[in-house]
Symmetry: C2
C-alpha cells in the first residue's frame, strides 16, 4: 500500500477521491456517510482511495449542503473567570462534554463579554450550531428564549418568566430538595430550625425557601427564623449573625447553598457555639465548599454534571426532531449526610 501521506498544500477533495477510485462523487459521499446502499466491493475501493489521499471531508461544505453543523453551543452569560471558578458552571460543561464525547458533535463555548449578547444572538442565528444550551443563574437570560423558535435550545433551570413556558429546561426539584434537607433536621429531633435563604427572585432561592417552609409546616414547627443572603460565604455569615442576634434558641440551620452554609460556620463559632454539637447545619449544592469544610457539610447534591449530560441529551433529541421531549426534565436530588448534622442533644 503506497502510504505516502505527504503534506499537500491544499487538502484533497471528495472529487479527487472519486477520480482516484473511478466512481462518482455521489458514491464517495455515500461511503463517507455510511450509506447502506453501496456494494462492499466499492466501499473498499473508495476507502482505499480515501486512505491513500488522506482525505478528510470538509465540514463546512458538508454543513452547507446538509444544513447541519454537528456542533452545539454552550452559552454561559457570565465572565470567563466566573465560568471557570464556579463549580456549578464548570460541572455542567463537564457533563455536556462527557455526553458529546460519545457523539460526533463538537462544543462551542460562548461566554459573556462586554456587550456580546448581540454577538451571541448573531452567532445563534447565523447557523453556526445546530442547537444551544443556556446556562445561567440569571433568570433574565431566558431572553434567549425567543430564539428557541430559530434554533433548538435547552436551559439550565426553570424559567421564571411566563413567556418562556414553552421552552425546554432541565432543573432540579428545589422544593423537594429543601424539604429533604429540612426533614433530615427534623428527624434528628431539631425543632428550632432556621433557614438562610437566597435571593427569592431566582428560582433556586425561591423554591428552596418554599421547601423549607413546607417541611416546617408539615411538622407543625415555627417558620419564622428566616434570614436572607446572596449566596456568598460573607452573606451566609451575616445572615447567621442576624439569626443569632435575635436571641431566640436555634438548634439547626438549613442554608440555601453551601457557600452561605460555610459562611455561617464562622458566625456560629464566633458566637462560641459548636457544629454540630450546638447547631446542626445543612447546605445545598454539594460543591467543593461542602466537602472541604470542617466539619464536612451535610448537603443536598444536585450533580450539575449529570444535569449537563441530561441537557446535552435532550438537545440532541430536539435536534433530531424528537417531538416527544417534555419541556421540563427534573434531575434527582440526593441528601449527602456528613458531619455537620447530629441528633439533638
Amino acid at each position: 500500500m503506497t502510504d505516502r501521506t505527504i503534506a499537500k498544500p491544499s487538502a484533497p477533495t471528495l472529487e479527487a477521491v472519486a477520480a482516484h477510485a473511478g466512481v462518482s462523487r455521489a458514491t464517495v459521499s455515500r461511503v463517507v456517510n455510511n450509506s447502506p446502499k453501496v456494494t462492499d466491493e466499492v466501499v473498499a475501493i473508495v476507502n482505499a482511495a480515501i486512505d491513500e489521499l488522506g482525505y478528510v471531508p470538509n465540514r463546512v461544505a458538508r454543513s452547507l449542503a446538509s444544513r447541519k453543523t454537528q456542533a452545539i453551543a454552550v452559552i454561559v452569560p457570565e465572565t470567563a473567570s466566573k465560568v471557570f471558578d464556579d463549580p456549578f458552571f464548570s460541572s455542567i460543561v463537564q457533563g455536556v462534554a462527557l455526553h458529546l464525547a460519545g457523539t460526533e458533535y463538537t462544543l462551542s463555548l460562548l461566554m459573556e463579554t462586554e456587550n456580546s449578547s448581540a454577538k451571541t444572538r448573531r452567532y445563534l442565528r447565523g447557523g453556526n450550531v445546530d442547537g444551544a444550551l443556556i446556562v445561567s443563574h440569571h433568570v433574565s437570560d431566558h431572553s434567549y428564549t425567543q430564539l428557541g423558535a430559530t434554533v433548538p435550545m435547552v436551559f439550565a433551570g426553570r424559567p421564571l418568566i411566563p413567556e418562556a413556558v414553552a421552552s425546554y429546561y432541565v432543573d432540579v426539584d428545589n422544593v423537594e430538595g429543601a424539604r429533604m434537607a429540612t426533614n433530615h433536621l427534623i428527624e434528628l429531633g431539631h425543632t428550632r430550625i432556621a433557614t438562610i435563604a437566597g435571593r427569592t427572585d431566582m428560582p433556586g432561592g425561591h423554591d428552596r425557601l418554599a421547601g423549607w417552609r413546607a417541611a416546617m409546616a408539615a411538622a407543625g414547627l415555627d417558620d419564622s427564623l428566616v434570614a436572607h443572603g446572596d449566596f456568598s460565604p460573607a452573606d451566609g455569615a451575616a445572615a447567621m449573625r442576624a439569626l443569632l442576634e435575635r436571641g431566640e434558641p436555634i438548634d439547626a440551620v438549613f442554608s440555601a447553598n453551601d457557600q452561605m452554609a460555610v459562611g455561617a460556620y464562622s458566625a456560629v463559632r464566633s458566637a462560641g457555639l459548636r457544629i454540630p454539637d450546638d447547631i446542626s447545619i445543612v447546605g445545598f449544592d454539594n460543591d467543593r465548599y461542602a466537602a472541604t469544610a470542617s466539619p464536612p457539610l451535610t448537603t443536598v447534591d444536585q450533580s450539575p454534571e449529570q444535569m449537563g449530560e441530561a441537557m446535552a441529551g435532550i438537545l440532541l433529541r430536539l435536534i433530531d426532531g424528537d417531538e416527544t421531549v417534555p419541556n421540563a426534565t427534573m434531575m434527582p436530588l440526593e441528601l449527602v449526610v456528613r458531619e455537620s448534622t447530629a441528633p439533638r442533644r
Copy 2:
C-alpha cells in the same frame, strides 16, 4: 411598503435582501462586508432592507465561499474535569476568551476524551477552524505539530521534541524564573538552599531545576540538595521529608511548583520546624494554593491568563498570514514575595 415580516420558517437569505433592496446579491455582500466601494446611498438602502428582514448572514455559506471560519479551537488534551480544576488551564482559556472578545472570532473548546485524539485531528483537518491553540502539560501532545502545516497553531509551552522546532509557542522563561526565586533566597542570606524539583522530562521541570543550579553556582553555593516529585502536594511532602532526613542543614527551599511547596509545608512542620523562621520556601506558578497557604507562599507568577491572551493574539496574526511572527514568545515572569520567606536568622 408591504412590510409583512411574518416569522418565516427559514431565515431570510442574502438574495431576499437583494430583491428587497432592488440591488444585486454582490452589492449586498459588499455592504455586509463593509466594502468601501459602495455608494453611501446604496449602503443605506441595503442596510434598511437588512434591518427590515432581520437578515443575518449564514456563517457556514460564508465560510465555504471565503475559506475562513472565523473560529479557532482551543485544544486541551485533558479530561474536562482537569481542564476546569487546574487553574493553569482555566486561566489560559480565560485569557484566550478575553482576547477573542475583541474580535469576531469564536472559540471552540476541545477536550480530550477516550480516544478523541483522532477525532480532534479530523476536526482540525476538516476545516472547522482557522487555527488552533494547543494547551497541555504533556510534551507528547506536541504531536499535533505535524498538523501545523495544515492549519496554523500555537502551543503553550516550549516543545521538547526537536521536530517541533518550527512550531509556534508561547512560554515563560522557566530558567530565569527559577533563578529569580533562588536569588531571592540568596539575597535573604540563605546558603543551604535545597530544591524540590519536578519531573525533568517536562520542559518546566527541567528548566526550573537548571535555573536553581545556575543561581546556586553563580553564588558559589552547594547544589547537592535536590529531591524530585511529580508536582502534587503529596510528592512535595515526600520530597521535603527525604531532604530533611539527610540530616544536613537546610535553611531554604525552592520548589518547582506551588502545589509541591504546600506539600513541603506539612513535612517541615512535622519535623518541628517553622516557616519562615527556620526554613524559607519559594514556589512557582502563583496558583490558588500559593495565596491561600499559611503562611502565604512567596512564588513566581507566570500569569497564564496573559499567556492565553498572547497565544490568541499570535494565532490571529498567523491566520492573517503575518510572516514576521517569531516562533518563540516569552512571557514576563514576576517574583511575588509573600510571607513564606524571611532573612536568615
